[in-house]
Structure formats: structure tokens, C-alpha cells
């Protein structure tokens, strides 16, 4: 087996091992990053919604208190403002979703659907559970969700949601007396649920993985070609020529040929010098024997 074949076999083997190892590590890393990105996105959405709620509750609501005596303004309701803000966000990121899923909501659009009811009930059964995360299948692909319980912790909430008689008249005018009443202090009435698509970050991670592997293969291929060329020009070709000359000299042919040209000072150059010296010595010895 030729030296270049052996060399290339070893190289390809090392390359494949390296590719597999790098691929495995990078794939795990990219997938892990994608998952972290999904969770981070979900938390960002959740925190944004909470910030909108807090802003509405502490700053907007008090400003609209007088107006509420004339007309019920949903803009003063934290849940409404959080949903409205997120609706704007959804115009650019339609796969993302935020919902305040409530079992008995004042506004019908907040009513919990089947899988949301399960989450709310899990929180109701374990009210100290701060958060739930999971994945579910949707028509547009897998979706990651993060949910937090909505618990009535302030008496102020009951102003609108205890009984129809106690609620602001303008609220009852707008939403009617049927829904959103009977809430109790410390009761878990629903859950804030953020859904973010897993497809997008995962697809992005897969794209990054493919790009990385193709790049790595290209780099290996370049190195492979470069090393082969170097091997050819710097080792195999001079050694082949030297070996051919050595063959001729060993058979007594071409003894008058000029010295093999020394073009480098590396090991091949040293070998060439040694061969030239050996050839000279052989010619001298042959002459002495003939004389």
C-alpha cells in the first residue's frame, strides 16, 4: 500500500471521527441553546405581560377611576391591557400566544379552553406550585408553554368580582351579571399561559448545525487536498525520483548521471545529500575495482 493511500486512510478516519465528535457536541449544544432560547422567550413574554399588568394596575387604573363611574373602561383592567399589548406583538410574531385563561372570566375571551382548564385545575389542586412548563402539539407544530397561577391575593380584586351588587355598575352594564363573579380571596381562578413555538428555534438550531457541519467538512476537504499536495510535492515525488535513481544506480546503470539536486534542507534534502555521497562513493569504488 502506497504511503499516500495509508496517509489518506488515516486522515479520512481521523476526519470522520472528528466530524462525528464535533457534530455530536455541537448538535447537543445547539439544541440545548435552542431549548434555553424557547424558555427565555417564554419567560420574556410572561414578564412583559406581568409588567403590563402591574403598570395598568398601579398607574393607569387609578387615573381612570373617575371615568369608570361614567363608563366601564376595560383599559383599566390589568388582564385587558396585557392581552391588548400582546395582540399587537402577535401581529409580528403570530406563533406566540399569551392568555389569561380563567375558569369563570368577566370577559368571555379569557375563558379557559380544554387543555388550559387542565392546567388551571392542576394549579387549583396545588396552589403552592409556582409554575408549570411543558410541550404540546398544535396544528402549527410543537409548542412550548409556561404557565403561572392567577391567585386572588388582594381584596381589591373582589371589588369587581365578588358579587354583582358589589361590582361597579358600569362593569355589569358592559359584561352582564352572569360571569366573573363569585371569586374568593386566595382562590386560583385561572392561569397565565405563554405559548411559544419550538419549531422556530429548533429549526434555527438545525440550520446552524448543518451550516457548521458543512463548513467543517469543507475545511477538512481543503486540508485534505492541501496536505495531499504538500505530501506529493515535498515527500512522495522527491522520494520516488530518488528511489528510481537508486534503483538504476544499484543495477549499475546511469552511473554518470549528475547528482540529484538538493532543493531543501529538510529530511528529504539530507537524504538526497546522503544518496549523492553514497553514489559518489559507489562510483569511486567501481572505478577502483575496474582500475
Amino acid at each position: 500500500m502506497k504511503l499516500i493511500v495509508k496517509f489518506n486512510l488515516v486522515f479520512v478516519l481521523v476526519f470522520l471521527l472528528g466530524l462525528v465528535a464535533a457534530g455530536t457536541v455541537s448538535d447537543q449544544l445547539l439544541q440545548k441553546n435552542a431549548r434555553e432560547e424557547i424558555v427565555l422567550n417564554a419567560r420574556l413574554v410572561m414578564e412583559s405581560a406581568l409588567a403590563a399588568r402591574a403598570y395598568t394596575s398601579t398607574q393607569v387604573g387609578p387615573l381612570l377611576q373617575t371615568q369608570m363611574k361614567y363608563n366601564f373602561l376595560p383599559q383599566s383592567v390589568p388582564a385587558y391591557s396585557a392581552n391588548e399589548i400582546f395582540d399587537v406583538v402577535r401581529k409580528k410574531f403570530p406563533e406566540y400566544a399569551y392568555k389569561e385563561a380563567v375558569l369563570n372570566p368577566t370577559n368571555p375571551r379569557n375563558r379557559a379552553t380544554d387543555w388550559e382548564v387542565d392546567i388551571v385545575n392542576q394549579f387549583r389542586n396545588a396552589s403552592d406550585r409556582p409554575e408549570m412548563v411543558g410541550e404540546r402539539d398544535t396544528p402549527s407544530g410543537k409548542s412550548f408553554y409556561i404557565a403561572r397561577p392567577m391567585q386572588i391575593k388582594a381584596e381589591a380584586c373582589l371589588y369587581c368580582h365578588s358579587t354583582v351588587d358589589a361590582a361597579p355598575k358600569t362593569l355589569v352594564d358592559k359584561y352582564g351579571p352572569a360571569n366573573g363573579f363569585g371569586w374568593k380571596l386566595n382562590e386560583v381562578i385561572g392561569a397565565q399561559i405563554v405559548s411559544v413555538p419550538t419549531e422556530v428555534p429548533i429549526a434555527r438550531a438545525n440550520r446552524a448545525f448543518r451550516t457548521f457541519m458543512v463548513s467543517l467538512t469543507a475545511v477538512f476537504a481543503f486540508i485534505f487536498i492541501a496536505l495531499n499536495l504538500m505530501l506529493w510535492y515535498m515527500v512522495i515525488r522527491p522520494v520516488t525520483r530518488l528511489s528510481k535513481l537508486a534503483d538504476q544506480v544499484s543495477q549499475g546503470e546511469n552511473m554518470e548521471a549528475p547528482d540529484f539536486e538538493v532543493t531543501s534542507r529538510d529530511e528529504i534534502g539530507v537524504l538526497t545529500q546522503s544518496f549523492n555521497r553514497m553514489k559518489k562513493s559507489l562510483v569511486e569504488a567501481m572505478k577502483m575495482l575496474e582500475g
Binding site: T66, K69, Y70, T170
Partner: protein, 278 residues
């Protein structure tokens, strides 16, 4: 006057002034807010009185001092009254009802022959219009109550304001009135004099219910010397007959017995002579 948006006029004495922020209200002042205006009065006792567009109000009698105590006649427009405390001697008189706020915030709209009141907070009392001497049984309104009444009819109380009422209110009335008292507490602004009032400018006041218009006779008497004003007064005399004494004082002069006797002898009575001057 601590807040003024848009044009508004002040009638003080017989002169019309351009109202400005910082002007101090005096007894007898008439405030007329422009078509797209908003004006707010604040008093030293914390009472704030905001007037919407097209509001016409007369400070009938306000005692000297820094409190809002006194009578204010609102002929038309929208008015928001805030910061009234228990025991405040303050009355808002309208052609439909007389409002005596107990405490809290009340909003009223008066237009044509209809008037409405919404009590935002606290409570207030409503009595009949001044023409009837407030003789009808007062209605006590609590926070959230909405009263609607028409002239000559018994009003009704509803648990929430009507859409028409809310629609008629300036947007600013739906929020708490801002306090700008600190800005003008130590600074008094004099209103810019425009001109003496014409009959048309005070016509509505001269034709107001008797308790309101009668005291205005002596006030606007100097204007009766203006030919145009006088002509208009005469033309509308049936709406304000109390001006007859000003326009034809000779009719009311004590009659001398001889002249009267002579007149009887000639068959020409004195009133007929006065009427002939018309």
C-alpha cells in the same frame, strides 16, 4: 380662574371683558365660556368649579372671602363641582333645579328645559327651581345617582348616568379636576376690557327667571341710556316688565292732585301720555 381653554368672556358691571387665568371672581360676575372652551374656578376652601363649552353662569351672590360659599346661577351648559365639604354654604341654581352639594363631586348639565345631575361621590340635595322658590320637596342624591328633570315636571333618579348625559360632558369632566390654585394664589390678573355690553349679549340674563333678572335691573340701568340698548329693552319689555320703571320713570312719579284733576277735566290721563312717548 385657574384654568381656561378657549375663549371666554366675563361681564362685570356693564362691561364685557376677555376672561383670563388668574382673574378673581366677584359677586355679580357673569362668565360665558366659548363654544370650544373650558374654564375652571378654584376657591381657597378647596372647591373647584369647572365649566364646559357654552356654559353661562352668574355669580349671584358670593360673600367676600376665599370660600366658594354663595349662589351661582347656571343658565346653561355643563358644570362640575368638586371638593365640596360638609356644611358648605354653596348653591348652584339652574332654571330646572337648585343644587345644594353636601360633599364630594357632582356634575350637572343644563340645556333648554332639561337638566341633569350625576353625583360622582358624596351626596347632594336638589330642590325646585328658583322661580318656584325651591318649594318642592328636596331630593337627596347619593354617589352614583343620576337625576334628570324637566321644567315643570317631577324629575327622576336613575342608578347610572345616561349615554346622552355622558356624551354632553366635556371629556375633562370624566377625570378628576386638576388643581392649579398654587399658580394663581398670589397672582391676580386683571381681565382685558372689551366694551360695554349690548342688549343681545345680556338678553338671556335680562329674560331670566324673576329672582335672577330683577337684581340685574339696577346693574344694567346705565345702559338704558344707550339708544340701541333702550330700543331693545322696549321691544322686549314684556319679558322683563320691571324695566318699565327705568324706561318710563315719569309713569311712576307721584301724581300731583291738581294736575290729575286737570287731566281728568281734559279727559287725558297721565299713563296715556306716557304711553304716547313709546
Amino acid at each position: 380662574m385657574t384654568l381656561l381653554e378657549g375663549p371666554a368672556a366675563l361681564v362685570r358691571g356693564v362691561t364685557r371683558y376677555a376672561l383670563a387665568e388668574g382673574v378673581r371672581l366677584q359677586s355679580g360676575d357673569i362668565i360665558e365660556v366659548g363654544d370650544k372652551g373650558l374654564a375652571q374656578l378654584e376657591f381657597g376652601d378647596g372647591v373647584a368649579l369647572a365649566m364646559g363649552a357654552k356654559t353661562r353662569m352668574l355669580a349671584v351672590a358670593i360673600p367676600r372671602g376665599k370660600s366658594a360659599a354663595g349662589d351661582y346661577y347656571v343658565m346653561q351648559g355643563a358644570l362640575k363641582l368638586a371638593g365640596v365639604k360638609q356644611g358648605a354654604r354653596l348653591r348652584i341654581v339652574t332654571p330646572i333645579f337648585t343644587l345644594q352639594p353636601g360633599e364630594g363631586v357632582a356634575v350637572l348639565v343644563v340645556g333648554g328645559a332639561e337638566g341633569s345631575v350625576f353625583v360622582e361621590s358624596g351626596e347632594t340635595r336638589l330642590a325646585g327651581p328658583p322661580a318656584k322658590g325651591g318649594a318642592s320637596a328636596p331630593v337627596r342624591l347619593k354617589a352614583g345617582d343620576f337625576f334628570t328633570g324637566k321644567a315643570g315636571q317631577k324629575g327622576a333618579v336613575a342608578p347610572r348616568p345616561s349615554k346622552d348625559f355622558i356624551g354632553a360632558l366635556p371629556k375633562a369632566f370624566l377625570d378628576p379636576l386638576p388643581s392649579r390654585m398654587a399658580r394663581y394664589k398670589e397672582r391676580e390678573v386683571q381681565p382685558r376690557r372689551l366694551e360695554d355690553v349690548t342688549y343681545a349679549e345680556v338678553e338671556a340674563w335680562l329674560k331670566a327667571p324673576p329672582p335672577i333678572r330683577r337684581p340685574l335691573v339696577s346693574r344694567f340701568e346705565p345702559r338704558a341710556s344707550d339708544p340701541a340698548f333702550r330700543t331693545a329693552l322696549i321691544a322686549n319689555l314684556r319679558f322683563h316688565p320691571e324695566w318699565d320703571r327705568i324706561l318710563y320713570p315719569e309713569k311712576y312719579e307721584p301724581k300731583e292732585p291738581e294736575a290729575e284733576a286737570a287731566g281728568v277735566a281734559r279727559g287725558a290721563p297721565a299713563p296715556a301720555k306716557a304711553a304716547g312717548k313709546k
